[in-house]
Amino acid sequence: MSSEPTDEPQHTHRRTPDGEPRSLRFDDACIVVTMALLALITFANVLVRYFTDASFAWTEEISVFLMIVLAMVGGSAAVARDTHIRIEFFAESGSAARRRRLAQLGAMLVALLFAFIAVISVRMVWDDWRYEETSPGIGVPQWWYSIWLPLLSALISARAIGLYRRRSRQSDAQYLARDEERAP
């Protein structure tokens, strides 16, 4: 081992200052399980291919589905923690009132977009169900997969509404405190 153990990088775990909702633990648990499954399935694919003649390729469809779930559930946690990629240059400067309005605008538009996707994708699921579409790989009904699109979009939208409400309640001091946080 190293002669200077103090050199080991210290990881400061990021915690949101404005008290994230407890229900986020559910999203987190889903993310962890999905991520672990994705890694295990892909790894199993490599092992099976090298040690047997069996084809494991049908798992591709499940992996793609899990990845969509990961993107949506992880996306909802990222909405709640406000870690989606955005330009903070203007939204994080100026008066507290301006920052609050821009934070509210951002949260509202995310809520709007995903509420819209949730509503309109119901039609997509309905078509899959009505025409009895089956998946190309395994041949299970396609709506088993597509049903999650409206449900998880609704989850993201709900998280964005939650963020909107927390941002509205947040005090001026907390908005301005983010300057200090970024520049200790």
Partner: protein, 432 residues
């Protein structure tokens, strides 16, 4: 008219701090609705369809896997041991630690595929060591941020995976091979200002008094880290694994090294690693899928051809157009993250590429070089954000150092533009 609205809405939302994915999705949906006013439901059914299709691509699976590799190696203790080994080789002296920081960041680039993960891993070790040796924290943060940006060029690289999903005819192995020499060139270019600045400003005066780690022991301890790129890149080269599989093999290799060999990762950390990597991947994947809506509206509105014609007949000539593209990319890199730049830019650029018959793999390398520069060009610089946070300095205070690094890497980019063989020789040699 609709196209102007599409871009104006997107740009205004973006600068107001709306998440970029949401800005792309909303602008795209609005443009689709306006263009299909007589169709059933204004053709809006295309929105969820494109969203779903944009996500449901098997090659994209490499993204969460390589993000996970980055999170694991970030905590595996490999960076520290590589640093000790590098110090054992080059010894102690003024300007040596910046050299070590850049070399180790480049080496970590051969393991992980994202700049910020490397900035965290290398910065966590190097910034403290450099401040003990008497380097200003702002300088160390600049060196680490710039060096980590070579990570997205040196294979494996998440940026190249996204590019290959967007561009048919640019395979991941070819792009990975094409990024190798430009990445090394960029790293070497960074060493020049880093060493020159530290000598000129007499930094690191305490460095020669620090102990030099013994060579053989450092080599033994670093060997697990040194083998990692061999497993990942060698495995892909030998045709053992696809890029996604190489990533997942690296995940388990990294977990073994971190949990069993170096014992820096415990079971509790594993939960946090999976959560962090999952959320980070989701942020990338969501932008990718929402940009699918934007790209669909671009293609249905038919704005790309007129724009291409205007550019091609602007009288600038091939190199004039290339110059404009470079300037535009560098400016976009100051404000936007790499994934968004690619998703907006690549569909617009493809007809221009075809017109001038530029090689798609070579153009991908140039694009990623510009994105790499953007990762440490203020005001919006992901790597610099990470390293400034570790160094506890304001990002503004790094500007006087980091601009030299930007200059050096821009010159390296111009070399690759002028001599495409720097990028294309290796993939041709390997037969991709």
């Amino acid at each position: 008219m609709i196209a102007t609205l599409l871009f104006t809405a997107f740009v205004v939302f973006m600068f107001l701090g709306v998440p970029i994915g949401a800005a792309l999705g909303l602008a795209g949906a609005a443009a689709i609705a306006l263009a299909n006013q007589d169709a059933q439901w204004f053709g809006l059914l295309a929105v969820p369809q494109n969203f779903y299709a944009g996500l449901g691509k098997y090659p994209l699976l490499a993204i969460p896997m390589f993000v996970l590799v980055g999170s694991i190696f970030d905590r595996s203790g490999v960076a520290l041991r590589l640093v000790n080994f590098a110090v054992a080789i080059v010894g102690r002296g003024p300007g040596m630690l910046p050299l070590v920081a850049i070399s180790v960041a480049m080496f970590m680039g051969g393991i992980s595929g994202s700049g910020p993960a490397t900035a965290a891993a290398v910065g966590g070790v190097m910034i403290a060591a450099m401040s003990r040796a008497g380097y200003p924290a702002a300088f160390s943060a600049s060196v680490v941020a710039a060096a980590s940006s070579t990570d997205i060029l040196i294979p494996p690289s998440i940026a190249f995976i996204v590019y290959s999903v967007l561009v048919s005819g640019a395979s991941v192995p070819a792009l990975f091979a094409a990024g190798m020499f430009p990445g090394v060139l960029a790293g070497l270019a960074l060493i020049i200002p880093a060493v020159w600045l530290s000598r000129r400003h007499r930094m690191g005066q305490n460095e020669s008094s620090e102990p030099r780690p013994p060579f053989w022991r450092s080599l033994r301890e670093a060997s697990w880290g040194l083998l990692a790129p061999v497993v990942i890149l060698g495995g892909m080269r030998m045709g053992w694994f696809t890029p996604t599989e190489a990533a997942v093999v690296a995940v388990f290799y990294g977990l073994f090294v971190g949990m069993v060999v170096h014992r820096t990762i415990g079971l509790r950390d594993l939960y946090e690693i999976l959560r962090e990597a999952g959320e980070l991947s989701a942020v990338i994947l969501i932008v990718v899928s929402l940009a699918g809506i934007f790209a669909f509206s671009l293609s249905t509105l038919g704005v790309i051809d007129p724009v291409t014609n205007a550019i091609v007949h602007s009288g600038l000539g091939e190199w004039g157009v290339m110059g404009c593209i470079l300037v535009l990319l560098l400016i976009m890199g100051m404000f936007l993250d790499g994934i968004s730049i690619m998703l907006i830019f690549v569909p617009l650029m493809m007809p221009i590429l075809r017109h001038y018959q530029w090689d798609v793999v070579w153009f991908g390398t140039i694009l990623v070089l510009c994105i790499a520069i953007g990762q440490f060009t203020p005001p919006m610089a992901v790597n610099l954000m990470v390293s400034s946070k570790i160094a506890q300095v304001r990002m503004e205070s790094t500007t006087r150092w980091v601009l030299w690094m930007v200059l050096a890497m821009t010159l390296a980019t111009l070399l690759v533009v002028a001599f495409p063989q720097i990028s294309l020789w290796l993939p041709a040699k390997l037969g991709y």
